[in-house]
């Protein structure tokens, strides 16, 4: 009989450590979370980046100009897209160009599709506005190399001779050879 009585007794679990850890993790993830940039929300393509062996180099997030070569998900055509992380510089760069004048005032467009000639103009203006701007080429691994080659030629003409290729970390179990 006493055994039965014991079973009926409710028990209280101390949740304090659990809640502590949960909040700790929550704070960590909340603070490290990085949200999509405005430019990324406007793009209509996803870039399948080429893979390279893991190293410590990281894409700088300050004063960066990114030239994307993406394949449109709907139409499947390849094009160059230009964006900059520094907002002030960005509006200065596109504000001075006639074809983008209305962009600066009205809508907040953060990424523009550009041809090679426009890219040349954009890169030149970027170099004038802030000569220390770093350039990165973020191209889809499936595009033809011709696109990258022509872009490098434009960069060369504008004396932007140091730039970065954006890559993804290659998983160690999948070596290049």
């Amino acid at each position: 009989m006493p055994k039965l009585k014991k079973r009926r007794l409710g028990f209280v679990l101390d949740m304090t450590p659990l809640v502590d850890i949960t909040f700790l993790l929550l704070t960590f993830f909340m603070l490290t979370a990085k949200f999509k940039s405005e430019a990324e929300t406007q793009q209509r393509f996803t870039i399948v980046r080429p893979q390279a062996t893991a190293d410590t180099s990281r894409l700088p997030d300050k004063d960066l100009a990114i030239i994307k070569i993406g394949i449109d998900t709907l139409t499947g055509d390849t094009a160059y897209y230009y964006e900059m992380t520094n907002e002030t510089d960005w509006f200065q760069v596109i504000g001075g160009l006639e074809q983008y004048q209305q962009i600066g005032q009205g809508q907040r467009i953060r990424q523009i599709r550009a041809g090679l000639q426009e890219l040349d103009e954009l890169i030149r203006r970027t170099r004038i506005v802030r000569p220390t701007t770093r350039f990165a080429i973020d191209a889809d691994r499936r595009v033809r190399y011709k696109w990258v080659e022509e872009l490098m030629e434009v960069l060369r003409q504008n004396r932007a001779t140091v730039f970065n290729f954006v890559t993804d970390r290659r998983p160690p179990e999948n070596p290049p050879m």
Binding site: M15, L18, V19, T22, F23, L25, L26, F29, M30, T32, A33, K34, R49, P50, Q51, A52, T53, A54, D55, T56, S57, R58, L59, I69, A136, D138, A139, D140, R141, R142, V143, R144, Y145, K146, W147, V148, E149, M152, L155, R156, R159, T161, V162, F163, N164, F165, V166, T167, D168, R169, R170, P176, M177
Partner: protein
């Protein structure tokens, strides 16, 4: 009514008495933490699932500022060519291009660079029609070789100076490669 009121008053008076108050304070109360924990876990799950901890990395490239013709010794030149189907060919100096696998390319780059001690100039020519990903893979292999080269040269007391160039492929070269 009056009686009830009166009794209520009397009760309040009794509650207000010091002895009673002490007893009330000593009472433990339990806060139900379930909703708090629910929300905390919900947010935790959301942030854990939406964050990508791996930021993209970069591969730095430097290109010469101008298209200048520099005279170099043919024997110091290692030319790598990537055909439109992704096959890699190499030749030293004026030799005929030979096909090479990526695995062999790494050891070749290490061997030749160590042999010529920083004099070797690697030139990469990629066909305009090859997938960009292939070019990055070859660059990646060369970067991997760089670690070993620096290590082996350091053993001989030399500092590694990388000499690398990326050049466009001429239509003639492309045609020659297609026949191989």
């Amino acid at each position: 009514m009056g009686v009830a009121d009166f009794s209520g008053e009397a009760k309040r008076e009794r509650r207000g008495s010091t002895r009673r108050r002490k007893k009330m304070r000593r009472l433990r109360y339990r806060l139900d933490m379930t909703p708090l924990v629910d929300i905390a876990f919900l947010l935790l799950t959301f942030f854990m699932l939406t964050t990508t901890l791996i930021t993209p990395q970069v591969m730095e490239m430097t290109i010469p500022p101008e298209r200048t013709q520099v005279e170099v010794r043919q024997s110091d030149l290692l030319t790598l060519q990537i055909r439109s189907d992704g096959k890699v060919f190499y030749n030293l100096g004026t030799d005929a291009p030979q096909p090479i696998t990526l695995k062999d390319l790494e050891s070749l780059a290490v061997r030749e660079n160590v042999r010529l001690k920083n004099r070797l100039i690697t030139v990469l020519k990629a066909s305009p029609n090859v997938a960009y990903g292939t070019v990055i893979t070859v660059l990646d292999v060369l970067n991997r070789a760089e670690v070993q080269i620096a290590e082996q040269l350091a053993r001989e007391g030399l500092r590694r100076e990388r000499r690398f160039a990326i050049a466009p492929m001429t239509p003639e070269e492309e045609q020659a490669l297609a026949q191989l």
